[in-house]
Symmetry: C2
Subunit: 459 residues, 2 copies
Amino acid sequence: MRMSYGRMFSDRLDGHHGLPRERLDQLAQRFPEVQSEIRRRRAGGEYGFYDLVDQGSTVTQITEFAEGLGQAFDHVLVLGIGGSALGARTLLEALRPRGWNELDDEAREFYPRLTVLDNVDPDTVASALQRIDPRRVLVNVVSKSGGTAETMAQYLVVRAWLEETLGDAAYRHLVFTTDAESGALRRIATDEGIPTLAIPAKVGGRFSVLSPVGLLPAALVGIDPTALLEGAERAVKRAESDDLLSNPSALYAALLWAADHDLGARIHVVMPYADRLRWFTEWFRQLWAESLGKRLDRAGRDVWTGPTPLGAVGATDQHSQIQLFMEGPFDKVVSFLVVERSEADVPIPALPGIPSELDYLSGHTLGQLLAAECRATQAALAEAGRMSLAIHLPELSPVVVGELLMFYQLATGYAGVWYGVNPFDQPGVELGKKLTFGAMGRAGYEPVRDDAIPPGDEV
Amino acid sequence: MRMSYGRMFSDRLDGHHGLPRERLDQLAQRFPEVQSEIRRRRAGGEYGFYDLVDQGSTVTQITEFAEGLGQAFDHVLVLGIGGSALGARTLLEALRPRGWNELDDEAREFYPRLTVLDNVDPDTVASALQRIDPRRVLVNVVSKSGGTAETMAQYLVVRAWLEETLGDAAYRHLVFTTDAESGALRRIATDEGIPTLAIPAKVGGRFSVLSPVGLLPAALVGIDPTALLEGAERAVKRAESDDLLSNPSALYAALLWAADHDLGARIHVVMPYADRLRWFTEWFRQLWAESLGKRLDRAGRDVWTGPTPLGAVGATDQHSQIQLFMEGPFDKVVSFLVVERSEADVPIPALPGIPSELDYLSGHTLGQLLAAECRATQAALAEAGRMSLAIHLPELSPVVVGELLMFYQLATGYAGVWYGVNPFDQPGVELGKKLTFGAMGRAGYEPVRDDAIPPGDEV
C-alpha cells in the first residue's frame, strides 16, 4: 500500500484551490502532540482496536471452528446490524469471487454461501428464510451487548424457524459472537451450550471487523484470518512513527481534517476503482460518520462537527457523481482506491464489422480501460481545482485488505484527535433507541408521543 | 403517495433550526414563475421525460418482445453504465422478490435471472461470464449514443464470448436499446438484423428509467410496464398544479432548494425504510448529482453549485449514519421513504428460556419494529433540530414505484429552475472522457500527460 497525496496542495491543482504547501509542515510539527495523546489514551484503555493484531488463541479458535464444525454447513447466515454486519460483507465481497452465492459448489471450492441479514425488513428476512435450507445452515448471531433490538428480533424469528425443522437440535446450528461476560446472548449460550466467540471488551462495533465479528464469517468462507491480521500489523507498524510524513494513516487523517477545517471540504469521498470494494465504502461510511460526527468535543463544548463520508465506485460513478465532484461546490476531497492488479484481466477483442470509431478499444484489456479512466478522472479533478489523493493497493489479497481496513481504523483514531472528539462513543443514537423501546412497549420506557412533534403538513 | 413536510420548519423542530414558516408563502408566491419557465422550456423541446407517460406503441413492442422471444431465455444480461444500468437494477430490486438470482425457477415464476454489468472491472465481467450459460442468455446492450466506451468494451467482450459457443447464431441473443437513428449500435443492428428499442431523442440517460432502457429489462422479469407508466402519469398530473401546496414534486424541490440556499443544508439524504429501495437511492444519487451539480447557471455565470445527494437505508443505517445526522453540522435534510405495507410481515415469536429483557419484542412483528424505528428516528431528528420530510408509499407495487420515480424526475426538473441551472447536461464529465480516449490511443485525442499534473508526494 502506498498513498499519493500531492493533489491535496494548490501547487499541484489549479493554483487557486487546495491546501497551501506550507500547511503540511505545520501539521507535521503538531503531530507529535497528536501521537502522544493517542499513546496516553491507549494506556488509559481507549483505542483497543490496535491490539487486534495480536489475537493468537482467538485465531486458533476461529480456524478450528471453521475447519471443524463449520465444514458441516453449506450456508452461513449472519444476524447482525451496523458493525456486526458490515465487516463480514466487506470481507466476503473483497476477497471471494464476485457473485459468490450464485456460484455452484465447485466454483466456491465447497465453501458455504453467506447471507448477512442486517435489517429487520420483513421482505428480506422472509425471502432469506424461504430460500435457505434450515438443515444445512449455520447461524452466526453477532451482537456485542447481546441486546441489540434488531439482531435479537432476528434471532427470535430465526430460532423459531430452525426449531420448526430441527426441533431440539436447533442449538447445534448456532454460534454466537458476543461479549465475554454479559448480555442475553452470553446467558443463552451458557444455558444451552452454544459455542461462542468473544468480542474484546475494548473493541466497539465499528472497529470490530478484525475481531471474531468479521474473522469468523471470513474464515468460514475460506478467507485466512492470519493473513488479514498480518496486513493489519503492517498498518499498525507504520503508525508507530512520530514523523507525520512517514506515517500514512496519520497523514491521511491530518490532510482530510485540514481540508475540512481550513477550506470547508467536509464531504469525504472514498472511490475505489474496483467493484469488490463497493461494500468497503459502506464500511468506511459507518466508521467515519459514527466516529467523527459529534455534538461535543473532548472538553464537553458544543461543536456539532464531523465530516460526511460518501462512497462512489469507478468507473461506474463517473456516469453519476463525477459531474458534481467536478463542477459543484468546493466541499469535497476524493480518496481514490486503486487496485493495481486484478485476478483475471479480460482482453477486448477486435470483431469484424465493428464500426471504426470503436477501434481504439480493441487490443486493450478491460483492466487497462479501467486504469486509464481512473488516471484520467484524477487528472481532470486536479485541473478543476479539486483535492484528491490516491491509495494504491498492489492487489486484493487478505494481507492487503487487512492492511487497508486497519489503515482506515487508525486514520479514524487520528482524526478523532484532530477533530477533538471521542471517536468511540455514539451518544446521538440513544434518543432514537429510547423512542423505539417506548413504541414497542418495553417496560420502563414511555410510549412515543408522535403528537409532541407532529409530522405536520401534508400533500 | 403522500408527503409530510412539517418538520422542515422551525416551529416543528427545536425552534432554532429549520426554515421559518413564512418562507413557505414566499416560495408559493414565486412558484407560478417556476412553473411557467418549465412550460416554456417544454414547448422548446426540453423536459422530454414528461412525455414518457404516453408511449403506447413502445409499450406494446416491449410487452410483445418480453412475452415472445424473451421467454426463450433464462438469464438477461444488461450491458450499460450510469442511467443505462441504474433503472433496471432499481426496478428489479424494488419489484421482484429479494435475492432474485438466488431463487429457483419456480420461486421466480419461471422469469429469467437478471445481471447488470455496469462497470468494466475485469473481475466482475469475468466472473459473470463464467457463471452465465451463453446458450440461455439474452444480452440487452443499452447506450443512447451507441458509443459509450465502457458499454461498447463490454459489448465486444460479450459478443466474442457468445460467438465462441454460438457461432453465427450469436446475434439471436442480442437486443439493443439505443438512439432511433444514429450511433454504432444502431448501425450494427441494421447490418445484422438485431432487434432494437429506441430511446426517445429528448430523454437523457438519467431520466430514462421509464423509457425502454428500464422498461424492457423490467418486462423481461415480469414487471408490468403499463402499471409503471400509470403511476408515472399520476405524478405528472399532480405536477400540473400552479399551486405549490398542491404540487408535491414541486414543493419537494422548493423546500430542498430553500434549505440549501437559506441555511446551507446542501447534503440531501434519501433514507428508505425498505431494503428493496437500496438501489433506488443510487438511482436518486445519479439523478440529483448529475442534474444539479453545475459550474454555470443558465446565464453562463460561474456558480459552482449543487446539493450532494446521499443514500441511507433504515433501520440499518441507524447503526451507521444517524449519529452524524443527529449530532454533526446542520448541513443536511433527510427524506424518509416509508413503505406502509410489506409483502409478508414476520411475527416475532416468544421462545421459552429467553431472557426477560427481550420480552418487549415478542408478540410484535418485524414490520412493526421497523415502523417504530422509523417514527422514532424522525422524532429524534426533529428534537435535535434537524430538518426532514417523509414520503409515504402505500406499498411497493409497479404503480407506486412508477409514481415515485416520476416524482423524483419532476422534482429534479423543478430544482433545476430553483438552482438556475440546466438539469439536462453534464459538461463536467467531458474532460475525463477526453483524457481516457487519449490514454487508450483513440485517433484525434492526445495521450494523457500524467506529468503535467504529477500525482506527487507519496508515502
